[in-house]
Symmetry: C2
Subunit: 261 residues, 2 copies
Amino acid sequence: MRIGVFDSGVGGITVLTELRRQLRDSSFVYLGDTANVPYGPKSAQHVERLSVDCALRLKKEGVDAVVVACNTASALALPAIQKAVGKIPVHGVVEPGVQSVANAIALLGSKAAPVLVLATRATIRSRAYGTRLEALLGPQGHPIIEQACPLLVPMIEEGWIDHPILHQTIAEYVGQHVSEHAPGVALLGCTHYPWIRAAFERALPGWEVVDSAQAVAEALGREQFEGAGLRAGRVEWIFTDPHAVPAFARALMEQSVMEPV
Amino acid sequence: MRIGVFDSGVGGITVLTELRRQLRDSSFVYLGDTANVPYGPKSAQHVERLSVDCALRLKKEGVDAVVVACNTASALALPAIQKAVGKIPVHGVVEPGVQSVANAIALLGSKAAPVLVLATRATIRSRAYGTRLEALLGPQGHPIIEQACPLLVPMIEEGWIDHPILHQTIAEYVGQHVSEHAPGVALLGCTHYPWIRAAFERALPGWEVVDSAQAVAEALGREQFEGAGLRAGRVEWIFTDPHAVPAFARALMEQSVMEPV
């Protein structure tokens, strides 16, 4: 099985890492659209156009399935991508993310625990998570809070993954919610955010942090691609602007290729 | 005279404002490549391709001159742009910026005053300013310091133009230079930076701050387009992703259109 994974930049590597853990007999093509990162501030129309281009590029590489490892593209462009690639199955991160939140809420057992969705501006504007979560958990009394965090992707792409200014920026985004609500479940609704999971956990004391990268890999490992074996899958890397790959991601890619996950 | 002005985003509006002050009988077409902002982290090859596309779009609009109101594009793509548009004159911001630094250094009269170039990662990597300034001022003993400030464009595009985190990020970029050098001349080598000129002045006490936006408008007003009259020129706005124009820039554009500058 050859699985194509794409993201606007290097964030999707967090999904790839999880997929390789779950699907040891598959091989992977990772496409990072570094020529167009970030997708978050772009319009829905433009994100759709770019996402379809990425999916068609992966189709040309002969993949058996496409994983949209980008919340912005998953939230805005999944139907267009599915239409463009025809019979090849397409998997986004939003639905697994929603399920993951629902599971965490059930485990918490608290009736009014709030859900805090953290994502890019385009994902929040699409209301992809908000609408689904309100339908699923709203009637049970869980407040659904949506917070756009537009500066985190640029900071992560800069390698500021444990920088005082990153911590302050996160505090700026979540501070008010933390003081207004009891702890609940926070969803990292951007595949860049698992790089800075520790920083989110620090800013959200007592909150359960779930991420869509892990969620999609678990969902796919369980439901879609049965018969996984033992070897770690090979990865081919494609970047639309190969000279614009952040140094910290290069280091991580090498590690990811060398290391049997 | 119809002048085409382009930038990766809304930063070039600072150049446009200065141009309208200097050239009151001209009309303007402003092209903001908001579909591809920011240019700063992209590779030289990719910036060149995008810049040529912008210039050709302005040529199709029938402009008499092209002003590249983006330091990254000026530093990396001026020859390619000139070749693409043929006989239409093309003006970048780097050379006026360099001249402006030289003038400020002459006025300071201090023999060893340092020059601090602040710009995007791509502009700094190109060494467009560094090479020219070292040739011009290095032999006189002026240290030339180049500092990439990659997170400032995303913050400005977010409207964080007087935000505590912006001030801290600037301090992070310039702090070491301020403590290691006596005050000198700081060049804002990105057309977004004049929006946050006050923040730079606060972080650089005693330094003379010059900006390339003002420099290019002054140079063009003086040398290139003689015979300016009295009316404020009309502006047409084009954005490659019209839904991705920051709110603070929209407000400013309206002001700029309504107000006789």
